[in-house]
Assembly symmetry: C2
DNA sequence: TAGCAAACGGAACAAAGTTCCCCTTGGTCG
DNA sequence: CGACCAAGGGGAACTTTGTTCCGTTTGCTA
């Protein structure tokens, strides 16, 4: 159990140099992810942070944990945007469409994140689980609202939809002719109740 | 170049042991792919075929070439099914939907193939290119027919759609709750012209 | 049957994640 | 103020996997 969740409060249990290095690692990782993508070698991140690889693993048991830590607050923003959109959009379906756009934009701008999200390479369950735990409930609420309003069919689960949209984002950053947002939009359109 | 160094002679002739090994490799690869997925280690395939790894690389310059060779005839079948469906379906849109189903079924039953298809790891461009070269024209024809019949919007390119559908298939074999076919169907439904 | 180029096997090399272990050091206690 | 020691750090080493290299074997032909 790590106390990484105590934002703002100084963790007495951690030595000063440890906290400093953890901070440096998060910064370095963010920079390297932007420059070389989420799949950048661990050694590159260690080098950029000026620490040894062992130090990375001391703070983040696996690569995936580092990725989660780097993007945690952006995922949080996305999650929080759900209810807000529901309140401010003309219809639940519109809110859903906009929220999915947010999600797609987030994934696409993080080179390779979508690909790694669904990867079943050992260690990435953490990453997968975190995203899903945080975002699926939000998506469920949007879907339920739209279904309750009779706008969409109600036989598609949030988890399935999120995975589908996530998959659509894979490789979207490599090919300018591939518009993940549009395809995701098609998916949401296809959700509409056929009357 | 086909085979180097055959001055003047129609060197169609491969040595008998070479042909035998190539055959054994294709069989072994097919078996291993079914058992362990497309991402199975090259060494496993070599072992199963009873040859050294060097022999694999003699026949197939890269892993991707082996994969292409193993699935070539199935891709061929899929490609040929396109025009047939167009002729036998009530509408072009129905033909498109059915053809996409075929494509999805093909991908999903090959563990990990979809994932590897979009992977940009060195060497897989071959695989990507082969699939696209063969199937995109077929998809284009179906899309054009449906667009000409006024059934769908005409601003989505076959390449984009195929990539989207391919992406939707990623990981579909790992999770029984994830129905790639249904999601792909949603995508095709979303293509319908909104009137 | 001898000779040779084609084919083979598998050791060796190159990335990449992860683990291990010995050394350094921050913070506390005498 | 200095000694102590566990937390922390560094990076070599281990593992896995694709790919290359090269000495050896072997099918074919003359």
């Amino acid at each position: 159990m790590d106390d990484g969740g105590n934002a703002g409060r100084p963790a007495r249990s951690q030595r000063a140099d440890a906290r400093r290095n953890k901070e440096a690692l998060l910064d370095a990782a963010a920079a390297v992810f932007v420059a070389s993508g989420v799949e950048a070698p661990v050694r590159d991140i260690a080098a950029k942070a000026g620490v040894g690889v062992g130090t990375i693993y001391r703070h983040f048991p696996t690569r995936a944990d580092l990725i989660v830590a780097v993007y945690r607050h952006q995922v949080e923003s996305c999650a929080e945007a759900g209810p807000a959109l529901l309140a401010s959009s003309p219809t639940p379906h519109a809110a859903l469409a906009r929220w999915i756009d947010l999600f797609v934009d987030f994934l696409v701008t993080k080179h390779g994140l979508a690909a790694v999200l669904q990867s079943d390479s050992a260690g990435f369950e953490t990453l997968h689980a975190y995203f899903l735990d945080r975002l699926v409930p939000v998506c469920t609420r949007l879907l339920d609202a739209a279904a309750a309003a009779g706008e969409i069919r109600s036989d598609v689960a949030a988890l399935e939809l999120m995975r589908g949209v996530g998959n659509l984002c894979i490789g979207a950053d490599k090919d300018p002719d591939y518009d993940a947002r549009r395809l995701a939009g098609l998916l949401i359109t296809g959700l509409r109740r056929t009357e």
